[in-house]
């Protein structure tokens, strides 16, 4: 999954218009970031990206970019423009 695709998925999880998230947002400042979206993120990382993310890893994330890292999303420049 590319960074762009991942951010679009996170927009959907959080009920935001497509293209809202850029990556540098703090999770605690996102209105809909709650236990439900956290669980959805873990389930999606598993089913869509095949990455087993533990809840502890997510709880330690502070920003959307941190989520990208634990989900092992390709953050290379080419991927960003995909």
């Amino acid at each position: 999954m590319t960074r762009y695709e991942f951010l679009l998925q996170m927009d959907e999880i959080l009920g935001l218009p497509a293209g809202t998230l850029r990556g540098n947002e703090k999770l605690e400042e996102l209105e809909n970031w709650d236990s439900t979206s956290l669980i959805t993120f873990i389930a999606l990382a598993d089913s869509a990206a095949g990455v087993n993310v533990s809840p502890a890893q997510v709880v330690n994330c502070l920003t959307v970019a941190d989520l990208l890292r634990v989900a092992r999303v390709d953050i290379s420049p080419t991927a960003q423009s995909a």
């Binding site: 998925q9 959907e12 999880i13 009920g15 236990s35 669980i39 389930a43 999606l44 869509a48 809840p55």
Partner: protein, 623 residues
């Protein structure tokens, strides 16, 4: 196209469909919820989720699946594993919430004590009794003090088997113990009408125990179910709630070629159809026919909607391996007209709403046309693999029922009888002569315990001939049945062709010398038979006996009850000026001498046997 279809085209809009892929469902749930909340006429309900584990996800998913059924829930959630304490100590928050439904979300993790190794069968049975005593006291307190319907999970099975295969045979084994508890839960459900099992024993097997519980979800969040399992559970609970509110589907409309048999009968001929165990593909169609037949046996109405010459289409059912027979179908439309029009005619013939129909066709173009033109008809995306058709119908739980009553099982007989009645009617000079020839008897009396379930079912399903569309829970029906400040009447109609079953219900609230009719409904299947007049005659007699001088009729218009807008006027009521918005009030002065209105129904309060060779017939599907 009929006026109903035109109305639909003008006003109705297909509700957003929930995606079947779990990832899509999870990712889009916020958006889906928002869209689903925009539907008109959502039915509100209050659900308390009492959890033996974390229930946040259960609540979130259940909300989506209920909204997709047109039901808008408001939730109460117990604290983590506080299900028992919330009820036992009467948590004021829960009591003030006044739930309509309590969902008890327990799993095998919540069993208080498992047997010790080598305990005898008697000792294990004692444990079963002890565990059941705790649950029964808990359920009975909910029923008695909250008056809510209970949906109770039975038990899933642990993934680990310390005793290996002995788990299945030894009385002291955990697996065996859980199966015993499940059997006791089932016994309880059979004897308590407002108690429903959410069968997670089956669901966990269907999902697979490995998928059912995710270790990380359990250890991190105390979620007893993985997201996949939560979706399966929410779908199942929503189906139960839907059935409680009478929103389950009643009729399966089927295409023929490549849906009920392989091949095109008009081209291939009946002898070349792929059907039966002699052929791999034929066996798939045979098995689907068997599933459809099983649905029909439990009361689901079947109809055909096929692009074919009618006589050619009917020939298909003469195939020696056809499990379905022509007489299994209550409506048969085989012609070259567009299917939406045919489906509207089927609904009209059967006297049921379009929202009671499920349409199955292997042809995606036909499905798309029906979905586009008839948004109220359920059109599952069954694909073209017939071996999956039954799975998809099962998955979406269109035909969930809360209870099976005799009337449900006899529906096919009823339809055969109804066809006879119609044929018979065509040979009379006038309608009165026809009614007289039916030799009708109306059994009318106050609510009795044996009919309470049926009465509740009718109250919650009837939409068209329903003056107020007020719904009552089973507890409320039971309460008014015993309350002397209410007049309650049910009516069964029997004629020479058979028993139409319990078809009409009336509830009136007595205040001094006046009775206000809170509920008056009747199955559309007995329209124009004067049964409403027989009920009115009975009501007037009750009023005279109790010294009631005035009957107040209430009409609350809805999208579906336009047919009874003039009901009270036709009975001779006077309209009351100044009624509040959204409800018409009518009144009738009870005369001292009353001339009965019924001309063709012999009225009795005594049970009457139906004519020989007929069975009690359904009414639920027609309401």
């Amino acid at each position: 196209m009929t006026s109903e279809a035109k109305t639909l085209q003008a006003g109705a809009r297909r509700a957003p469909q929930l995606p079947t892929a779990m990832a899509d469902l999870l990712r889009n749930r916020q958006k889906l919820k928002k869209e689903l909340l925009e539907q008109p006429n959502l039915l509100s309900t209050r659900i308390a989720i009492l959890g033996g584990s974390t229930t946040t996800e259960v609540k979130s998913m259940l909300e989506l699946f209920l909204l997709a059924q047109g039901i808008k829930p408001t939730f109460y959630e117990s604290g983590y594993n506080r299900y028992y304490e919330d009820v036992s100590f009467a948590n004021p928050e829960l009591w003030n919430f006044k739930p309509d439904i309590v969902l008890v979300h327990t799993t095998w993790h919540n069993v208080s004590q498992f047997p010790e190794l080598m305990e005898t069968e008697a000792e294990v049975e004692e444990r079963v009794r002890h565990e059941m005593a705790g649950f029964e006291a808990f359920w009975e307190k909910i029923h008695a003090e909250l008056g809510a319907v209970i949906i109770q999970n039975n038990f899933d099975l642990p993934r680990l088997r310390p005793l290996g295969n002995l788990e299945a045979s030894q009385p002291f084994a955990r697996l065996n113990f859980l199966m015993r508890l499940n059997a006791e839960f089932a016994n309880y459900a059979r004897s308590h009408s407002r108690f429903f099992i959410n069968d997670i024993h089956y669901l966990s097997a269907h999902v697979g125990l490995t998928e059912w519980l995710g270790n990380s979800y359990w250890y991190s969040f105390h979620m007893a179910l993985s997201p996949t399992a939560t979706v399966a559970l929410a779908r199942n609970v929503a189906a139960i709630v839907k059935s409680i509110y009478g929103k389950s589907k009643k009729c399966l409309v089927l295409d023929l070629d490549n849906t009920l048999w392989g091949g095109v009968i008009g081209d291939d001929g009946v002898q070349n159809l792929l059907l039966g165990s002699e052929h791999t593909v034929g066996a798939i169609f045979r098995d689907f026919q068997q599933y459809v037949k099983d649905l029909q046996r439990r009361g689901i109405i079947l109809a055909v909607c096929s692009k074919n010459e009618p006589e050619t289409a009917k020939e298909g059912f003469s195939h020696p391996d056809s499990i379905l027979k022509l007489e299994d179908f209550a409506a048969f439309k085989a012609n070259w007209n567009p299917k939406p029009g045919n489906i509207v005619e089927i609904a009209e013939e059967l006297n049921i709403g379009l929202d009671s129909l499920v349409f199955v066709d292997d042809n995606p173009a036909e499905r798309a046309i029906v979905a586009e033109h008839l948004p109220e008809v359920a059109v599952p995306d069954v694909g073209s693999d017939v071996s999956m058709f039954a799975e998809i119908l099962e998955r979406d739980r269109y035909f969930e029922v809360d209870k099976l009553v005799q009337e449900d099982l006899s529906r096919a007989t009823f339809y055969a009888s109804n066809a006879q009645r119609k044929t018979s009617g065509s040979s009379f000079a006038n309608y009165g002569e026809f009614l007289a020839s039916l030799e009708m008897t109306g059994v009318i009396g106050p609510f009795t315990p044996m009919y309470l379930e049926r009465i509740t079912q009718l109250i919650n399903k009837t939409n068209q001939f329903n003056l107020t569309t007020r719904r009552y829970t089973g507890a409320e029906v039971e309460a008014v049945a015993h309350d002397p400040s209410f007049i309650t009447l049910y009516g069964r109609l029997i004629d020479k062709f058979g028993d139409n079953g319990l078809v009409t219900v009336l509830i009136g609230h007595v205040i001094d010398d006046m009775v206000e009719i809170d509920v008056w409904l009747m199955s559309c299947r007995v329209l124009n038979r004067e049964m409403e007049l027989a009920m009115f005659d009975a009501l007037v007699e009750h009023c005279q006996a109790r010294g009631i001088r005035r009957i107040v009729g209430v009409y609350i218009p809805s999208k579906k009850n336009g047919m009874v807008a003039k009901h009270y006027a036709d009975l001779g009521f006077e309209r009351v000026d100044g009624a509040s918005e959204g409800r018409d009030l009518w009144q009738y002065e009870v005369p001292q001498t009353y001339e009965v209105k019924t001309r063709y129904i012999r009225r009795t309060t005594e049970p009457v046997l139906a004519p020989e060779n007929t069975e009690a017939a359904p009414v639920s599907s027609g309401v």
